[in-house]
């Protein structure tokens, strides 16, 4: 709903959306068509291309969890990634992004996947194991060997660098 409202407010963003798939994306929304772009197209954008978590980001913001974004979701994604987005919002989305198996907890496998994406597989398995267990130990407050959102938030709120 209301894509025409969005279109009038952020025409440049719509321009970017349009140029990803010019034949699919309409320029006028009076008929309120429901166009969704697939994941592969979105992650080819220069802003996301180099990001190790690009697939997860797009999946988080898509309604079906598969990465197909409508224009509303597209605007949503960029507004959350923006520099001026509030910190609490970023925390919530960061948690969702790092949760690879989408069970609302960050378990050890999620941490391992995150670490491997960050270091591009340069660390040995023992090192990966060590880092993940230490991180889990540091942040896990309720002792269930997975990080719930409150654990994550507690840890992030004290971090000096978490803005982007």
């Amino acid at each position: 709903m209301f894509p025409d409202l969005l279109l009038s407010v952020c025409p440049r963003l719509h321009g970017r959306f349009h140029e990803l798939a010019p034949h699919l994306v309409p320029l006028d929304y009076t008929n309120q068509p429901d166009i969704r772009l697939p994941l592969a197209l979105i992650v080819s954008m220069p802003e996301l291309k180099e990001n190790p978590f690009r697939n997860r980001i797009v999946e988080v913001f898509s309604e079906d969890g598969q990465g197909n974004l409508s224009f509303n979701d597209f605007v949503d994604m960029f507004s959350a990634l923006c520099e001026t987005a509030p910190r609490e919002l970023k925390t919530i989305y960061a948690f969702k992004i790092y949760d690879f198996n989408v069970d609302n907890f960050l378990c050890k496998e999620d941490l391992e996947k995150t670490l491997n994406r960050l270091t591009k597989g340069e660390l040995t398995p023992e090192e990966v194991n060590l880092v993940c267990s230490k991180a889990m130990e540091e942040a896990d407050l309720d002792g269930d060997s997975k990080l719930s959102f409150s654990d994550f938030e507690n840890m992030i709120s004290k971090a000096p660098d978490f803005l982007r």
């Binding site: 409202l5 802003e47 979701d73 509030p86 919002l89 670490l115 991180a135 269930d144």
Partner: protein
């Protein structure tokens, strides 16, 4: 019609409506923070906006509308883009840690300069003129240029008073700004205490920069993240190693001794060079090197000593963050030592000039009388007053203030030159050589020595801080110095920005000297005080030159203030100030301030204690919770001991109703059997269904407390369960 409608609304209805409007407005404001889908956001927004528009006008009856419009206008007018919201508003040269320092410096400098130049440019009279020895010396840049005429121009601008006020006010304003920034940082940063708390977790979740779009930058970032993880892993493993502590202590003492020798050596070198420059002052045939020797030596020392300190510091084997702090501290000591030696030597020179002045003053009066005598002789006309002597012929006193100003300007200029040259040669030439010679060199220049230069954040920040210290000191005697510095900062920002992008690689070690910027702000504050001292001392003690500057002719510089009070302000203010300046009033005031400082200090210590206690409690609660979940026994030794002392459950008679209400945490262990309260159950250990099953009766009714299973628990189990809060579940 709307009027009658509004009148017909009762007071209660209006209130209710107002509340609803406020609520809708709040929802609109909070909407940014909610992680909703765009669709939902838009629906709510439209709804709330319509509601607000419909009813707000009706409530205000025109006055409300006007107020609303006014509010909207004010927020639109006053709200610009916040700092850091677009790239051009964030400093590219020094990274985020130092951004705040830089903005303090830039704001201060630009504002001050603009102020000075608008006032001064309009009202300066040109009584002093240009000698062939160099126009700059007699320009608006230096103290000597300003006339001591009490008021200037149509508006009767009091130049001498304003000169003094601006000079002193500069320090006051900088002091306020620095302290305010430090207080703000202390609030946000929470001090340096918790560095070790979440190392690995933070590294994992916050190290990636989501704004990276360039493949090369991304590769760099991956590499630095990997390095940083490897470092932490090594750090972690090293903590288990056992070190020979005596050897380490000896090495540290040795390193400190060597560094003190270096500092002493550099101090002596400067002293020696200053003495030499005093001899040079009497000669005329000086080469460029000899003229600028002092400043060159000082800048070179500042260049050579820090790497020397760093190599010596490798003996010490500190943790990188601590080593960085030591390094910065030593560089700071070096700078201070050099500066103060320089100042003392300068004072010597000033005293010499003051002596010289006395004789020249007599000579100039004599020359004036001669000129008049000649004039009447030649013109045979004793009635007309002779025209004043041509200004360039008047014998000039050795204006010591201008000399001091000149020294500071030369110091700043040579500092600029050395910095620019260093970047050009040390970074740019090095990068060019490494890049192009790499093709035909035996070993890989890029990966090993010399490779590209690293951008040294802390060194650059210190450089900024020291530069600012020099400006603060010199600004009173050379007002133009501030303008020169602003130009220098602007140009060096672009220059260094280019140099960093083109020739530098990111630092291998990614850590900061302090979490908040307070370490650097603390240094800045210290330098501010230290630069304040010489200036205030000279204002209070040294007599101004007799023929140059805005205070010429007075006994002391601050006599200007006395004069203003006498002549410009109404009489009663003068007497009032006379009373206020009485030592009988001032000493008690000082005592009062000292007592206030002592009191505030003890209050803040008490708060720190309380904070530490709370943290400990939280940590204990967390550990107990973990242990309870994992069904293990408590690891806290105290708790274990207490539990051991408790009576055996199965031997107990049914417990009497509890006597003490509420939660008691103190139980007398060992009073088994008789009337022991089963309070212990609630307060000490957490109910563990596996370990204690023998109690047949639940404890008696207690005071109202949160029941377990209440819906107060957020995701993850909630903090309410476990130790001593609320009732345990009834036992079976």
């Amino acid at each position: 019609n709307t009027d009658s409608e509004e009148e017909s609304m009762s007071e209660g209805e209006m209130e209710r409506l107002k509340e609803e409007v406020e609520e809708k407005k709040k929802v609109i404001a909070i909407m940014r923070n909610k992680p909703w889908r765009m669709k939902r956001r838009l629906v709510h927004l439209k709804e709330c906006q319509e509601f607000v528009d419909k009813f707000e006008g009706a409530l205000g009856k025109g006055k409300g509308r006007k107020f609303y419009a006014y509010k909207v206008m004010m927020t639109k007018v006053l709200m610009g883009l916040p700092y850091g919201s677009i790239p051009r508003k964030t400093v590219p040269r020094a990274e985020q840690p130092t951004a705040q320092d830089y903005s303090v410096l830039m704001d201060f400098n630009v504002e001050d300069t603009v102020y000075r130049y608008t006032i001064r440019a309009q009202f300066i009279t040109c009584d002093h003129f240009f000698l062939s020895q160099g126009y700059c010396k007699y320009s608006v840049l230096f103290y000597g240029y300003y006339n001591n005429q009490r008021t200037i121009g149509l508006l009767k601008f009091r130049l001498p008073l304003s000169y003094l006020m601006v000079g002193v006010g500069t320090f006051g304003y900088s002091l306020m700004v620095v302290i305010r920034t430090m207080a703000k940082n202390a609030d946000v940063g929470g001090g340096d205490g918790d560095d070790g708390e979440f190392t690995f977790a933070w590294k994992m979740f916050t190290s990636w920069d989501y704004l990276i779009g360039n493949a090369e930058t991304a590769d760099n970032k991956y590499a630095s993240i990997t390095t940083s993880f490897k470092e932490s892993i090594v750090d972690e493993q090293e903590n288990q190693k056992d070190e020979n502590i005596h050897l380490r202590r000896f090495l540290r003492v040795l390193a400190n001794f060597m560094i003190i020798c270096c500092l002493g050596g550099s101090g002596y070198l400067i002293f020696f060079v200053v003495k030499r420059s005093q001899e040079f002052a009497n000669r005329d045939d000086l080469s460029w090197y000899e003229k600028n020797e002092l400043e060159l030596i000082m800048s070179l020392l500042g260049l050579v000593c820090p790497p020397l300190f760093e190599t010596i510091a490798e003996l010490e084997e500190y943790h990188p963050r601590i080593a960085l702090k030591w390094q910065l501290g030593r560089i700071f000591a070096l700078f201070l030592g050099n500066l103060y030696t320089f100042l003392f030597a300068l004072f010597d020179e000033v005293n010499n000039k003051l002596e010289e002045e006395v004789s020249i003053r007599n000579a100039s009066i004599w020359a004036q009388k001669e000129y008049y005598a000649n004039f009447t002789l030649y013109n045979n006309d004793t009635d007309t007053t002779p025209p004043p002597m041509d200004p360039s012929d008047v014998i000039r006193g050795p204006c010591w203030e201008t000399a001091v100003g000149i020294e500071f300007v030369k110091l700043t200029v040579s500092d600029i030159q050395v910095t620019y040259l260093t970047i050009l040669i040390g970074d740019f030439a090095r990068a060019v050589i490494v890049r192009f010679l790499n093709y035909c060199w035996c070993w890989d220049l890029e990966a090993t020595y010399p490779s590209y230069g690293e951008f040294d954040i802390s060194g650059n920040v210190l450089g900024l801080v020291f530069n600012q210290g020099m400006i603060w000191m010199g600004a009173f005697y050379a007002p133009g110095l501030v303008g020169i510095n602003v130009l220098r900062l602007l140009s060096s920002m672009y220059y260094q920005c280019w140099a960093v992008m083109a020739t530098n690689v990111p630092h291998e070690r990614v850590f900061k000297a302090s979490k908040s910027n307070n370490f650097y702000m603390g240094l800045l504050l210290l330098i501010l005080f230290l630069s304040l001292l010489p200036v205030v001392y000279t204002i209070m003690t040294l007599p101004p030159s007799f023929d140059c500057g805005p205070f010429s002719g007075k006994a002391k510089m601050f006599d200007v203030i006395m004069e203003t009070i006498d002549l410009d302000l109404p009489a009663f203010l003068g007497t009032l100030m006379g009373y206020a300046a009485n030592p009988g009033l001032i000493i008690p005031a000082v005592l009062l301030m000292v007592l206030a400082i002592y009191y505030l200090n003890s209050v803040s210590e008490a708060y720190q204690h309380a904070n530490a206690e709370l943290k400990k409690k939280m940590q204990m609660a967390r550990d107990e919770e973990k242990n309870r979940r994992n069904n293990t026994e408590s690891t806290d030794q105290v708790m274990k001991d207490l539990e051991d002392l408790l009576p055996n459950r199965s031997l107990l008679p049914p417990a009497p109703p509890p006597e003490t209400g509420g939660k008691s945490t103190k139980v007398r262990p060992g009073t088994a059997g008789k009337d022991v309260n089963l309070q212990k159950d609630v307060s000490l250990s957490s109910p563990n269904p596996n370990a204690r099953g023998a109690v047949t009766r639940p404890p008696g009714p207690r005071g109202p407390g949160p029941l377990p299973g209440n819906g107060q628990q957020g995701p993850g189990g909630g903090p309410g369960r476990g130790r001593g809060r609320g009732q345990p579940p009834p036992r079976r």
